[in-house]
């Protein structure tokens, strides 16, 4: 699982979902949590964090957002060599198989369908961490 000092970025256009995800992370003991309300400000934060040599260790993003979607954010993250290996979980209310395939092709670390429980998100985080650590090993 992600180490306690991991820095998280939670991206969602609804503050409700950011609060829910943040609460789950806090309950798990994480303290370094930042938020963005859309893909564009998220990408700025990701770029700034890399420049400051304090990159995010995990990004949890909504898919369906009005400015830059979570899928486009994922593609941008994967296209940047500095962040291409960053674990990224997409959360969405759209559970269609075509969405899962599209996200997998773009290199998503894992995928969680809303509504989800804390247990479900925790399991997805464990899988995402294991997948990236396996790749790094």
């Amino acid at each position: 699982m992600f180490p306690p000092n991991t820095k998280f970025l939670v991206v969602d256009d609804y503050s409700t979902m950011r609060k829910i995800v943040k609460k789950i992370l806090v309950d798990m003991g994480y303290t370094r949590i930042e938020e963005a309300e859309d893909g564009k400000p998220a990408l700025e934060k990701i770029t700034q964090a890399v420049a400051a040599n304090d990159a995010f260790g995990c990004i949890i993003s909504d898919w369906n957002m009005p400015g830059m979607t979570g899928l486009d954010l994922l593609k941008a993250v994967r296209a940047n060599p500095a962040t291409s290996k960053t674990p990224m979980i997409l959360a969405t209310a759209e559970g269609d198989q075509s969405n899962v395939v599209e996200a997998a092709k773009a290199g998503v670390s894992d995928y969680v369908i809303k509504p989800f429980t804390p247990v479900t998100l925790t399991e997805k985080m464990k899988k995402a961490y294991a997948r990236h650590n396996k790749q790094a090993a």
Partner: protein, 168 residues
């Protein structure tokens, strides 16, 4: 996936599977995201959408050549109760946090119903909800028929109304 069933403006709003997809998604979303239990009442067909509460989440939907509006309406008391159950914060009145919550719930309810119906071959598209607090008026073009499903919450009868309005 099976072939897309041809939607019929006269019958789809009384189609058991169609109604159950929305009922299931409404109950599931409120249970998991908001930790509240809803009990569905008897669906009714109304000639038009009616204002039921103080805060309403809307989402426009397209499928095949038809256009719909899904709306979830909450009385202020019910919306405040749900917010308090989720975040432990007591609000004296409706505010932006509660509107945001109703928008996200509307988003999840539509997403859940969409997934269930698309598994049956429907072709509902992604959409973003909007939330209106206070009074509103609606204008219908074409069919303008509404399926209204009431839900009981915390002992309060018809605390939440879900309307599925066929616009075209």
């Amino acid at each position: 996936m099976s072939a897309a069933p041809k939607l019929n403006t006269q019958s789809v709003l009384v189609d058991k599977d169609f109604i159950n997809a929305f009922v299931q998604s409404v109950v599931n979303t409120h249970k998991i995201t908001a930790n509240v239990a809803l009990t569905p009442g008897t669906p009714k067909i109304l000639p038009k959408i009616e204002k039921h509460g103080e805060v309403t989440g809307f989402v426009g939907i397209t499928s095949q050549d038809m256009r719909w509006v899904l709306s979830l309406s909450y009385g202020a008391e019910s919306a405040i109760f749900i917010y308090k159950t989720m975040f432990g914060e007591d609000k004296a009145k409706l505010d932006g946090d509660i509107s945001d919550l109703i928008g996200e719930i509307t988003n999840q309810v539509y997403g859940g119903a969409k997934s269930l119906l698309n598994q049956r071959g429907f072709a509902f598209e992604m959409a973003l909800p909007t939330v209106i607090t206070g009074d509103f008026r609606t204008h219908h073009h074409g069919a303008g028929v509404t399926l209204m499903i009431p839900f009981d919450l915390n002992g309060k009868s018809s605390a939440i109304h879900v309307d599925i309005t066929l616009e075209k």
